[in-house]
Symmetry: C2
Amino acid sequence: MSEPTVPQFRVIDLIRKKRDGGVFSRAEIEYLVDGCTKGSIPDYQMAAWLMAVVLRGMTGEETAALTNAMLHSGEVLDLSFLPAKKVDKHSTGGVGDKTSLVLAPLVAAGGLYVPMISGRGLGHTGGTLDKLESIPGFRVDLDAREFERVLKACGCSMIGQTEKIAPADRKLYVLRDVTGTVESPYLICASIMSKKLAEGTDALVLDVKTGSGAFMKKEEDAVFLAELMVETGERMGKKMAALITDMNQPLGRMVGNALEVQECIEVLHGEGPADLRDLCFELAGWMLYLGGAAKTVAEGKQLCERIIASGQAFERFRQMVELQGGDISAIDDPSRLPSAEHRVEVLSPQSGYVTAIATEQVGTACVILGGGRERKEDSVDPAVGIVVHKKIGDKVSAGESLCTIHCHSLADAQAARAKALLEESYEIAEAPPTYKLPLIHRVIYKGES
Amino acid sequence: MSEPTVPQFRVIDLIRKKRDGGVFSRAEIEYLVDGCTKGSIPDYQMAAWLMAVVLRGMTGEETAALTNAMLHSGEVLDLSFLPAKKVDKHSTGGVGDKTSLVLAPLVAAGGLYVPMISGRGLGHTGGTLDKLESIPGFRVDLDAREFERVLKACGCSMIGQTEKIAPADRKLYVLRDVTGTVESPYLICASIMSKKLAEGTDALVLDVKTGSGAFMKKEEDAVFLAELMVETGERMGKKMAALITDMNQPLGRMVGNALEVQECIEVLHGEGPADLRDLCFELAGWMLYLGGAAKTVAEGKQLCERIIASGQAFERFRQMVELQGGDISAIDDPSRLPSAEHRVEVLSPQSGYVTAIATEQVGTACVILGGGRERKEDSVDPAVGIVVHKKIGDKVSAGESLCTIHCHSLADAQAARAKALLEESYEIAEAPPTYKLPLIHRVIYKGES
């Protein structure tokens, strides 16, 4: 059978159509994405179209067609040769949000494959690739064949987006970044899902953050995006679930690349802070359930406890680090991970209870220290960061440390700016907060669990 | 006094502001227009901003600030050395809309100056410059000094937009044309007014067309744009009035460049079709009134009658043609204007009354014949066109001619396509139309007249 001829459209008509609130056909969307990828449609036309999409929106069908066209603009991995289901997790990003490093080896030890393509930090949030690269020698730039080899050997592999994956997304993302068209749930959904589905996964669990440290501060925005992504994945034949999780304070206690790797190793050893462990078990439970390795989410979570206790999860992580060129001596002895010489304490000005944390500012403080990037081309310092001692609801005395800054010099302006920002971030009152923040705000899943 | 430092903004923040429905300060708009003119803001950012303006709109103050910034992106003529008021007219464009050629000499003979910078035809409408260029030798590319010299000598001059006038508008217009951002009253207003005010006029009469041959088919859209332009001009210290005029059928009987010049000469001689004469007198009456040469619009119209009857209007036209290099023998004897050899009659298929004319199609038929341009780079044939015999309300017998096509060859496909289009354009019914179209739908003016 010959391919049907691609219909030719006029880009100007397509821009006008979305401007006037029209609904695109699959062929129209494919024409635009194809022209964008090949560079035959100029940036100024794509920019006008993107702004029209931001302000007019898209239907579920259009969003799925856009995702599909972006996905097929590049290489789509075929992992059907692997003898079990492939499952992944995606987070919309937060502060101290480090679950991927725990989930990949944990779920792999549970009998599934976790082919994880991750991103770098941008804005106030950290990125999985930056964290992994704080392990000396760790390579995130594997090509598709190396990725498959690591996956087959230890059940999980964590890499960055290659040149060949979703080139339409890379082009569009650069353009969105400079044209004020990032903040659209339809475009965010298509961007995330086109990359995630290029991994060849069978199921995907979404960790959609909401709160003061998330991109979506309002829960209703997080729910809207989560529902759109779940619907889009399901239209494309994937098993999908989304957890709306709390980001009103940093997750765990560590913020900063090497510090976060260290905290993940603690969790893989059955230790670490309760909120981070609980969220890892929730997400892993869902991954194991959707991948068919557990009959219910609860069973999946119990399986996680056993895997951690047996040391298998840490062993998988160690294997992956070794296979991807990382120095396992730094995994076995985290004191060998990069670290900063100096400590600056952020002290509480009064006695009372922590009632709120401006979490985005905590992330920004880490960026100021050099632990994140303000622009894409910035390099990241693996050693610096913040250790959070007091979280919401904690009692604190005047002069007690709220958190500790890890930095290279006590004299530098960065440390002083970060300290001032952290001091401002804490809200301390005489009475304890009257509410308790749930870890999981909501689950979006269409079926039994 | 030193100029205050221009504040620096981030373009991305300005795009986001309009995307989210914000209102710009004058400084913010100036920053954008300046960056666009100098080329320091890339097209893709301007395109995103333009689409946000189309969908979010602008306040009257923002529109005036945009107009002002575009006006001052280039040369603004200072005609204060002329000993009387300067006044101009602008039309939003129609089919057979040729009043400028009558108005400039007529109002000049009334004692005012008419510095007229006009445009070319685009789409289904004709353009003043194309009409003037059908007079052999006529130059529309005078520079500012030549323009002033002609103005001083005969009271009127008609030229095209020079490179130096409103360069921001030229840049933005090219971008709007390819990004689906033409159709915004705010952007249309700023584009028109920035060019018109660069002429150094004291007063401006707007002829905003509505109906089947206008860009704005709906009267409410025409009124919205007219009010916006009147408000903008008044904010910039100009006397303003707008007439919403009918474009549900061609104005006068001639459609086509040399044919329209010929019809204007008829009007300047006190002849020509009544609708064209009446509209010219209305517009000229307003121009004379706003320019202070008449105490009321009615007095202005009476003055027009006398000027025409005395032959002074034609004389002024003849002087202007001569001063701008045109062949006055073709003005004295219009049979010497370019003409096409062949005639094709468009016959009525039935007896009855003309009840409607799809006027945009009549304009398109003229473009097909070569009398207009589909793209900016197309050249225009001065000789071809259409002579309209039957207008709305006219009685017609089966087989009688509705209009006559002037073309170069009876065999060419263009003539056949134009004929088919014209046949389709006429609606003929047994009974006469129950309504009578007004020539002037509405006047927008804030004061006594």
